[in-house]
């Protein structure tokens, strides 16, 4: 079955690229917190819970937001929209933040708000809640970005007839190194809603690696 990437957003370094267009760039950003805050403000998204998310949650949420803004998936039943995300360090970034709240036995104040994010797949839940997706979802761990793994998994979901649309993502944050990519994958290259854009390329390992490496 031929599938298409019908939209993508890539948040890496100090920039955000959506469908080959640079939509945000800011110099002198040193930390992930500064970057994601500035990119979120620039996106003019209003979702107060964003600020409560952990770093992976914020990265995946904003990347999904920007990709979906270009290519709405509202034409598909919620039960037939999948989300397949992956990264390399799982929830280690948040695990460390949680550890920082409990390592001193004399100042042992674990934060519930941090603890609830000490699983990597919470970002998938955040995206599904935001957009109402109810289809197959999974969070995979790979040593480094693995376009083949993502393509094989998503192709299998489409081939099995379980989904009509899917978000494919890589949401990696560890300290102040980050790399977030979310692509919208569909069977139809031209979308199913009138407002859907026309940007599309075939969904395959070569193209997803190209997006990841060239931005």
């Amino acid at each position: 079955m031929e599938l298409f990437i019908t939209s993508y957003s890539h948040l890496a370094g100090n920039q955000v690229i959506v469908n080959d267009r640079l939509i945000f760039y800011q110099e002198n950003i040193l930390t992930f917190a500064d970057f994601i805050r500035a990119a979120y403000k620039h996106s003019q998204t209003s979702y107060p819970k964003f600020y409560k998310m952990d770093a992976i949650g914020k990265l995946g949420f904003l990347a999904a937001e920007l990709a979906i803004r270009e290519r709405s998936l509202t034409g598909y039943p919620a039960e037939r929209i999948g989300v397949v995300f992956a990264n390399g360090s799982s929830s280690l970034d948040t695990d460390i933040a949680h550890y920082d709240t409990i390592r001193d036995r004399k100042a042992y104040f674990p934060s519930p708000g941090i603890f609830v994010y000490t699983l990597p797949n919470i970002v998938v839940g955040e995206v599904c809640i935001r957009h109402g997706f109810k289809g197959e979802n999974v969070f995979l761990i790979a040593e480094s970005f693995d376009g083949k793994l993502l393509c094989d998994y998503i192709n299998e979901l489409f081939d099995s007839g379980r989904i009509d649309g899917c978000l494919c993502g890589w949401t990696e944050v560890l300290g102040d190194k980050w790399n977030g990519l979310v692509t919208v994958v569909e069977k139809e290259s031209h979308g199913v809603t009138p407002e859907a854009g026309n940007w599309h390329i075939p969904f395959n390992e070569k193209n997803i690696n190209k997006i990841m490496n060239h931005n």
Binding site: P48, Y51, K52, A107, F109, P110, S111, P112, G113, V116
Partner: protein, 84 residues
């Protein structure tokens, strides 16, 4: 009391990551949950931690939480009564 209320507002904003909300936006008598700030169950747990961490007050009976965390003023009054 007014000084404590202002301090508490700042601490709640920081602890609960209430970005874009300033102390002036919070009415000390308005309910913290269900409306206004739109806090959730995780926020309630964070407020329990805040009381213990910043004021050394441990809430022994969770049932008291509803009354203590009704508003910023009720939190301030509880702190005044129980601060060690």
């Amino acid at each position: 009391m007014d000084e404590l209320i202002l301090k508490l507002k700042k601490e709640v904003i920081e602890q609960l990551n209430l970005e874009d909300i300033t102390p002036d936006d919070i009415n000390p008598d308005s309910p913290l949950f269900g409306e206004g700030l739109g806090l959730d169950s995780i926020d309630a747990l964070e407020l329990i931690v805040l009381l213990e961490k910043n004021y050394g007050i441990k809430i022994e009976d969770p049932k008291d939480g509803k009354k203590i965390f009704y508003s910023i003023r009720s939190m301030a009054e509880y702190i005044m009564e129980h601060k060690k």
